[in-house]
Symmetry: C2
Subunit: 310 residues, 2 copies
């Protein structure tokens, strides 16, 4: 099985390494020059707790890859997905499966432009990892992966089950999901209620959730996610999600969500268009308004411009 | 005419000084110990351009004042108005007039709790001044004052005209307004569209207004102000206000609005409840929602708590 990891940052490197170690024919794809140079010269350095290993996995710029592949994992930033797919078009065969474990909603709308829907597989993962500079990936604890075929069908379901088997063989805890769309929406709602607000207020999860306003704000945002998800065929339980967000945010404490890291710490563009922005866009298409998510998206984009212009 | 200045910070000191110099019997009231000590020991230092003058105007803590007065100017922060009125109850006679030139909306609801509506006078001013430390006020350019009686009536209108005359005699450019409520709402809408956003995004007026999102955000906020104002009997022109905000914000450039100064620079509570918060509260009372102003108010209050807890 020839596998391409399209976007080989922290999480992509982790998946690429584990699939490679399990005996698959893996190539990494990325655009970050220092990262590519480092892996080509010194190999990919993998650190898992006290274990450190160096592996020589081929890595390419998107425009360099030519050989067709059987399977693509997309691990770009959400807003980099379209460009990546455009670049790797030549390696997508008629039967190449593409699996997205990206956070947020709306990725399938982009994937559909580049491959037949029967080849799309969607999932959610709570695996994470970090980069200690270019070419050096650090595993962060364990996780799980849920996967499901995007379109119903025996053949598609069989393929999804094969993917699950392959991931388990590579040491992941993966399972087939009967309703991955629910899991994707639920995770997006959790992220959508906290990430952008922590970026806007420049605070961590615990600081925000300890304010008197937090529950009201979270509920406003979640209510709109629930409404749009319902129109899209996914039933979310508002009270359950709000309660989960409040409790988990208190527990994880001083964690700064990724959008805070991107925007405030690293002055980079955010993935807001695949969280709150997706809800705003979808509600507009559906003919109603989601003012809270619309406003958050506008504020984050305004802040991006202010920070980039500095 | 015995006049009390309730809240003798930057602008209160300017009014107190000018009315005192014009021959009125003026007392200052404030709660800031260093300011009071400094004025009692060294007098109030007044700087207007290159002119510097020292005057001995009596200054009191709110609980110290005992003698009844004819006229009170309230120049507290909006959220300090209620406490101040509670403290100075003893000096309010049956006929004591109170005039508010405070920014924002909803002050009349507080004033009504402490005096007969016939004694309330409302106004708007664009005079400003600053404090160079305790006891030292600096005039900042010129301005205008609009005043009107809060309730219709010949007697009330006559009183408002007397106030205008007194202010002009003291060197202000004051005039009687036929519709001061319109001016108050319009100014509040302008402030409400910009101040909180600049505080949230930590930017100045020009930076915010130069983003692609600015016009949409400003319009959302203004639309809700217009709707609530209309229900309250004041007709605002949305397009006119949005255009004014965009043009004036580009012109004044690198100015940080007062809410940014309060919250971000000085880590103090803001007056948001008398701008966006007042619109949110009034719309709720009227039975409809103003999500943009509600959300802004919640975000600002969350940020206040996060900053105060640090």
């Amino acid at each position: 099985m020839k596998i391409a990891i399209a976007g080989s940052g922290a999480l992509g490197s982790r998946f690429g390494y584990m699939l490679y170690e399990a005996g698959n024919d893996v190539i990494l794809i990325d655009k970050w020059k220092e990262h590519i140079d480092s892996i080509r010269e010194n190999g990919l350095i993998v650190q898992d707790g006290n274990n450190r290993k160096i592996v020589n996995i081929p890595i390419f710029y998107p425009h360099e890859v030519a050989e067709e592949v059987d399977l693509v994992f997309v691990f770009t930033k959400s807003m980099g997905l379209q460009d990546m797919l455009e670049d790797i078009k030549p390696i997508l065969r008629e039967n190449t499966s593409v699996i997205s474990l990206l956070n947020g909603i709306g990725h399938e709308d982009i994937l559909k432009e580049y491959l037949p829907v029967k080849n799309i597989f969607m999932g959610v993962t709570i695996y994470t990892s970090g980069l200690k500079g270019s070419g050096h990936v650090i595993f962060e604890g364990s996780g799980t992966i849920e996967i499901q075929n995007f379109t119903p069908g025996d053949r598609e379901e069989k393929k999804a089950l094969q993917l699950v088997g392959m991931l388990n063989q590579a040491g992941f805890k993966a399972y087939y999901s009967e309703d991955v769309t629910h899991s994707i929406w639920r995770k997006a709602c959790v992220n959508g209620a906290m990430n952008a607000i922590c970026a806007l207020l420049d605070c961590n999860l615990a600081e925000f959730v300890s304010t008197n306003q937090a529950e009201m704000i979270i509920r406003h945002i979640a209510k709109e996610f629930v409404k749009v998800a319902k129109e899209k065929g996914t039933i979310l339980d508002e009270n359950d999600i709000v309660e989960y967000i409040l409790q988990s945010s208190r527990k994880v404490g001083s964690h700064y969500p990724s959008m805070h890291q991107d925007l405030i710490q690293n002055h980079r563009l955010t993935e807001v268009d695949f969280l709150n922005g997706a809800v705003a866009r979808m509600s507009k298409e559906l003919g109603f308004e989601t003012p809270y998510n619309t406003f958050i998206t506008q504020l984050i984009h305004a802040k991006e411009q202010i920070i980039m212009d500095e």
